[in-house]
């Protein structure tokens, strides 16, 4: 029960890492009418979670495994691998900002952890990134890697959905139904990426990439991505 409670707390969408200020590209997709109803929103959320699984999801597992081994160097390598692959500025900012916030929050709440050591040495080197930090935190808390992966996927979907409620005509029940449906894919995604290494991290979402790169040029926007 103790691990479940930790999973619920640190995987909660209100955990203060600032997820509420990002839309994972949805704001631009809504502006261009690409996402405009329940069906297109669900498709978009599923694309986001798929890209999250084959990209950052691999880094969650790498961070978790490195933390279990107590290997700070491997954690740093995972952070570097994530940072090198954030080719869009806004997603790079999001990953680094949420990573730092998670590391600071975990240090305050849990105390001395590997993440504390990692953030201390990151000052003039490789930044802490969110997916790796999440894996490390859950390993420290005794939550297993499947659940850490699940929390990451849940977070990717709920970030988009909480933005959707503010950006388009969908209500909380629509959002929860979509979340429920998309969560059905998490186990299969885990099964597929669990043997992937950091070098295997990949994403193919040119449409999302173009929307993300265009977003920074919009003058009036609610979200940082």
């Amino acid at each position: 029960m103790a691990e479940t409670l930790k999973l619920l707390q640190f995987g909660d969408s209100v955990f203060p890492v600032g997820a509420f200020s990002f839309s994972n590209g949805l704001e631009m997709a809504v502006e261009h009418g690409v996402v405009h109803d329940r069906t297109t929103l669900q498709d978009y959320v599923r694309t986001v979670t798929r890209l999250a699984a084959t990209g950052d999801g691999v880094a969650v597992l790498a961070g978790h495994r490195a933390a279990r081994a107590g290997d700070l160097e491997r954690i740093r390598q995972a952070d570097q691998a994530v940072h090198l692959r954030k080719i869009n500025e806004e997603t790079r900012t999001m990953s680094v900002r949420m990573g730092r916030k998670l590391a600071e929050a975990a240090t305050r709440i849990v105390g001395e952890t590997l993440l504390k050591k990692r953030i201390d040495e990151s000052a003039n080197g490789v930044p802490v990134t969110y997916p790796v930090a999440l894996g490390v935190v859950f390993a420290d808390l005794g939550v297993d890697e499947q659940d850490a992966f699940a929390a990451h996927q849940y977070g990717a979907a709920s970030t988009v959905l909480s933005a959707a409620i503010r950006l388009m005509p969908v209500d909380h029940l629509d959002a929860q139904s979509i979340l429920f449906a998309v969560n059905e894919r998490v186990a299969d995604d885990y099964h597929e990426v669990r043997t992937a290494s950091l070098d295997d991290m990949q994403t193919f979402g040119p449409h999302a990439d173009v929307l993300a790169a265009a977003h920074q040029h919009v003058h009036v926007r609610m979200f940082m991505s």
Binding site: G25, A29, H32, V34, V35, T40, D43, Y44, R46, T47, V48, R50, L51, T54, Q80, A81, H83, L84, R85, K86, I87, N88, E89, R92, T195, A196, S197, D200, M201, Q202, T203, F204, G205, P206, H207, A208, D209, V210, L211, A212, A213, A214, H217
Partner: protein, 305 residues
């Protein structure tokens, strides 16, 4: 020699072709190109080639940059066949410049066993300038292809790397859209001291996860991807000229530029339904890049290309 055979995404395709075995004689294409400065111009001083890859000689056809060797890469087998293993190794000495392209579209032929791979290595010296702008890539039905490219360059050097990916033979018979098995592409850049700059890797497996969906390709078919690796000052000038995103519902066309991590440069992505608007957008970005980096523009495109 580096091989990609152990790539994770190739695990399902390790069977042997009924024809020549994979990586047999005649299936391993090698191209080694070395450029260096001689007086005002750059020459192709080192050339090693092994079929099915072929380069004949450098030509100086660029009227805006008459000192620029232009090299056309040919394939003697009409594209990439199952079991092909291609290697391209390009070195530019300090202060040299080169333009590389292909003679025709890279056609990744239909496959029923095994796969094709391509390893590309680019090494640039101080102040070197390389344009690598091959014709579009067309992955045919059931093709499997993995390409791995690495660029090593100092901050003073520039590489312009542009690719256009087609969905297949769009107008062949009933149309062939994303009917391939696997298209895997990775590009990484690093400094001469080994410091990593960025990595982009995508693996497209249309039967495992749909391509024609929101966030992936949506309603678009053609994907142009251009990477400009150069100094931060030059990148900033190119960014100023090209950063306004395009969202054109009519054509349709969508494009945007982003700054790469670690001050590596810029990445330009463009999506369209037809090849020509995408090529035009890629070309416009390349013109801005060449002008800001070299002070010269591109001559008009050949009317037959």
């Amino acid at each position: 020699m580096i091989t990609l055979d152990s790539a994770r995404e190739l695990a399902p395709y390790q069977d042997q072709p009924a024809q020549l075995p994979a990586a047999a004689n005649g299936k391993v294409g090698i191209l080694r190109l070395g450029f260096e400065r001689r007086g005002d111009r750059t020459i192709l001083h080192d050339l090693y080639r092994q079929s099915p890859l072929l380069v004949q000689r450098a030509l100086y056809w660029d009227e805006e940059m008459p000192q620029l060797p232009c090299v056309m890469i040919l394939t003697t087998s009409g594209g990439i066949l199952q079991g092909d293993r291609l290697h391209l190794d390009v070195t530019l000495a300090a202060g040299s410049q080169a333009h590389l392209t292909t003679q025709a579209a890279t056609k990744i032929q239909e496959m029923d066993a095994n796969y094709g791979t391509q390893v590309q290595r680019f090494t640039l010296g101080e102040d070197a300038y390389l344009e690598f702008l091959p014709e579009p890539t067309i992955p045919y039905r059931a093709s499997r292809f993995v390409t791995d490219s690495r660029v090593r360059l100092p901050e003073s050097a520039t590489m312009l790397y542009g690719e256009v990916l087609q969905p297949g033979r769009k107008y062949y018979r009933d149309g062939e859209l994303f009917a391939y098995d696997l298209f895997s592409c990775s590009l990484r850049a690093e400094r001469p001291d080994g410091r990593q700059l960025f990595v982009e890797k995508f693996v497209v497996t249309p039967r495992q996860f749909g391509v024609a969906r929101v966030g992936v390709m949506d309603r678009f078919h053609i994907f142009g991807n251009v990477v400009l690796l150069t100094s931060p000052e030059r990148a900033a000038r190119v960014f100023d000229r090209t950063s306004t995103p395009v969202w054109d519902e009519q054509t349709p066309l969508a494009s945007a530029v982003s700054r790469l991590p670690n001050d590596a440069g810029l990445i330009f992505k463009v999506l369209g339904q037809e090849t020509e608007p995408v090529r035009a957008a890629v070309r416009a970005f390349c013109v801005a890049a060449r002008e800001e980096v070299t002070g010269r523009t591109f001559p008009p495109a050949f009317s037959w290309r």
